[in-house]
Amino acid sequence: MMDPAKLGRVIEAMDKRNLAGLLIYSRGTTFVLRPSYLHYFSGVRPVGKNTAAVVSRDGKAVLLVEPAWDACRLRSNTWITDVRGTSRFLEDLPALLEELKITGGVGVMGSEEMGVELYGAVSRRARIEEAGDIVEDLAGEKTERELRVIRETGKIADVGFKAFLKNARAGIREYELLAEIECAMRSAGADDIFILLSSGSHNQAMHAPSDRRLAPGDIVIGEITPAREGQFIQLCRTVVLGEPPPVLKEKYAILLEGLKQSMTEIRSGNPASLLSKAMNRVIGDAGYAKYCYPPFMRARGHGFGVGSIAPGAVIDDNTPVDLKRHQVVIAHPNQYFPETGYLACGETVLVTDRGPERLSETETKLYWNEI
């Protein structure tokens, strides 16, 4: 959650751009590769499909919530003192802009989530200017509480992996395996979860769990991603049912080396692209350069965060930005090999001035379960 003390800086940013107000909107969805502006700004994740925080130039902030019954929860969890429930969001939001005397330019965050009618209603009242960068700039500086949540979530990912390893066995169905991982991470404090996993002798990609039963010799790949207070941390791991054949060990060793090399490039001030180039160099030198780029590969990493996912949703060889202190970044040399199929290997770290700080304790290696 944004430190309410930062509201002054929000007002300053509005002044600089001559904005009469700010509108931070959410339709209640969370996308792992996009900032959740409203969640960060207000400190709460709404239940409903229409929630907006509106801030006037003189610093008055109002949270408008639909359905109205969710207002009670939001009131006790946000620093915003004026929380209003509504069942007529489309009419009440423009009225609120009028009440707060917001005419002229209004800085909007979350406009990409707005439907046609809502966008029209707001733009008839004020000129919409994109303003996501205001919150993203603030979110770049993490508070002690945010850092604590980031580290706690890393521990939940460890719990998730333990459940993955314990339950990945012949006979269990993919969706049953997911249920066990989910339960372990929820019990450990996760309030949202993103998991993709696949099994088979030659995986093409990761996907939602199917009815498939795990079989001896299967390669099981997973992206285990718990979230707490909007902060996601991801572990990408591969578990084999039975001792892996030498070719699999050999290919996985390439990924481990790629990850190791990319970690040496993670430090505040370094170009984010170095992380990707380091991985691609190792994998390319091993003879798989073709498989390092689309259509086989999209990104070598990305950021995670609530108010900002800087350095961005895609880290590849062409990412034009530098890493900054306290960004949360996953480096994942997840890779398709023609000999083994798709393998998962990846680690989320906190960027520091001295290098990457690992957020989970789970050893990065190829795992296998005895059958």
Binding site: T30, R45, M114, V116, E176, F194, A205
Partner: protein, 403 residues
């Protein structure tokens, strides 16, 4: 009922072509095409997005959006169907496993891909029907579509699809029934479970585990706390707390806990609500008889032939006569199927005629002196034999004679 949307639908994602065969979808498409021709619509665009509003395109394709991404089903008046999904190009191969539609395009710019498709099919100067587009499509996507279809006649075609979706086919009722059985089993398990660490997270974790183990595609839970369950004066100032997502709070003996569950099974939703009292490290159902009796009388009235608003007024009158204050914020419910909130709405303003084949989410929230905030809710099928509660642990069984 609105519930917090997860980042990803993580549960079992399969298409069972026996339970929901291609012929079922083709029948739907044929009916839609018939309506299109009546209205001289050349091409119909059915848009859906995210974890809650996927119904329109899913109705004809079975495709499910599992993240906050869009999908568009395109139906021509010749009955051709295409599916355009927002996502990465590589996803197209995976999508094939869960839909009967052969023409699939996956791209990061849904509207542009849709426009490209319409161009290829020479449909950009025709009459285009929109369903789910104005309600759900993000404005920027809409602007692209709007600009490209400037020369076309646009027909708002939501009523075509909404009317069809309101009355479920037998196969759809069976899917809702399966989802409802999961809800019933979860409530039953909740009442049998012991929680050594008795907090809301533990309750939530159990529900997710059991729901996903039984093959749910998505599971949602809301919790409310009622103050009235403990002897008056034990915790002065304690108030009822409305429904919300579970958090880290502990549950202790005597606490009143309302649990609302929604489960999606192979695209179809069912939901229910129960009121419990914490006893030691367990939850015991604690709905007072007077509330059960009132709820029973209200449920009996949910029959084909009356309007949704008429049912609402009757239910409110029954509640008033019972002298239990009605908590209006949560409403009485409405249609349920591919969405947990779909027409008709059981409200004073919806005059839709209730018909056989509708599946409804019904709920009642009142306050009582014994338990404070008390909620009961079920998924109900409107059948020729009256309302059938699908979320009962032992659903009403109608034995037919086959002699």
């Amino acid at each position: 009922m609105q519930t917090i949307q997860p980042t990803l639908k993580r549960g079992r994602d399969v298409w069972d072509p026996i339970g929901m065969p291609e012929s079922e979808f083709r029948t739907r498409v044929d009916r839609i095409v018939k309506e299109m021709r009546k209205r001289r619509i050349t091409v119909l665009l059915l848009f859906g997005i995210g974890q809650d509003d996927y119904g329109c395109p899913c109705y004809v394709t079975n495709y499910l959006t599992k993240m906050p991404q869009g999908a568009m089903a395109v139906i021509t008046d010749k009955g051709e169907v295409a599916l355009i999904c927002e996502g990465f190009a590589r996803d197209a191969a995976l999508i094939k496993d869960t839909t009967w539609v052969k023409e699939i395009r996956s791209s990061e710019t849904l509207s542009r891909t849709c426009v490209q498709y319409l161009k290829e099919k020479r449909l950009l100067s025709s009459t285009i029907g929109f369903a789910g587009v104005r309600q759900h499509m993000p404005c920027r996507e809409f602007e692209i579509l709007s600009e490209a279809t400037r020369g076309c006649r646009i027909v708002e075609a939501d009523p075509i699809v909404n009317r069809m979706r309101m009355i479920k086919s037998q196969r759809e009722i069976d899917q809702v029934r399966r989802a409802a059985r999961l809800v019933a089993r979860l409530f039953d398990s909740l009442a049998r479970a012991s929680f050594p660490a008795f907090n809301e997270r533990a309750v939530e974790a159990l529900i997710y585990r059991l729901g996903y183990l039984d093959g749910a595609e998505d599971v949602r839970i809301l919790i409310a706390r009622s103050a009235g369950a403990r002897p008056r004066g034990q915790r002065p100032g304690e108030k009822d707390e409305p429904l919300r997502p579970p958090d880290d709070r502990m549950i202790s003996g005597g606490d009143g806990v309302v649990v609302h569950l929604a489960v999606e099974f192979e695209r179809y939703w069912a939901e229910g609500t129960r009121t419990y009292r914490a006893e030691g490290i367990s939850l015991a159902e604690s709905t007072p008889d007077a509330v059960r009796s009132l709820y029973g009388r209200i449920t009996k009235g949910l029959v084909p032939g009356k309007t949704a608003s008429g049912f609402y007024r009757e239910a409110l009158a029954k509640t008033k006569r019972s002298k239990m204050p009605f908590v209006a914020e949560y409403g009485l419910g409405g249609g349920i199927g591919l969405s947990s909130e779909e027409p008709p709405l059981l409200s004073a303003h919806d005059d839709t005629l209730l018909k056989e084949g509708m599946t409804m989410s019904l709920r009642l929230c009142v306050t009582t002196p014994e338990t404070g905030l008390t909620m009961l809710g079920d998924t109900v099928c409107l059948s020729g034999n009256g309302p059938e509660i699908l979320t009962a642990v032992f659903p009403q069984v109608i034995c037919r004679s086959y002699r």
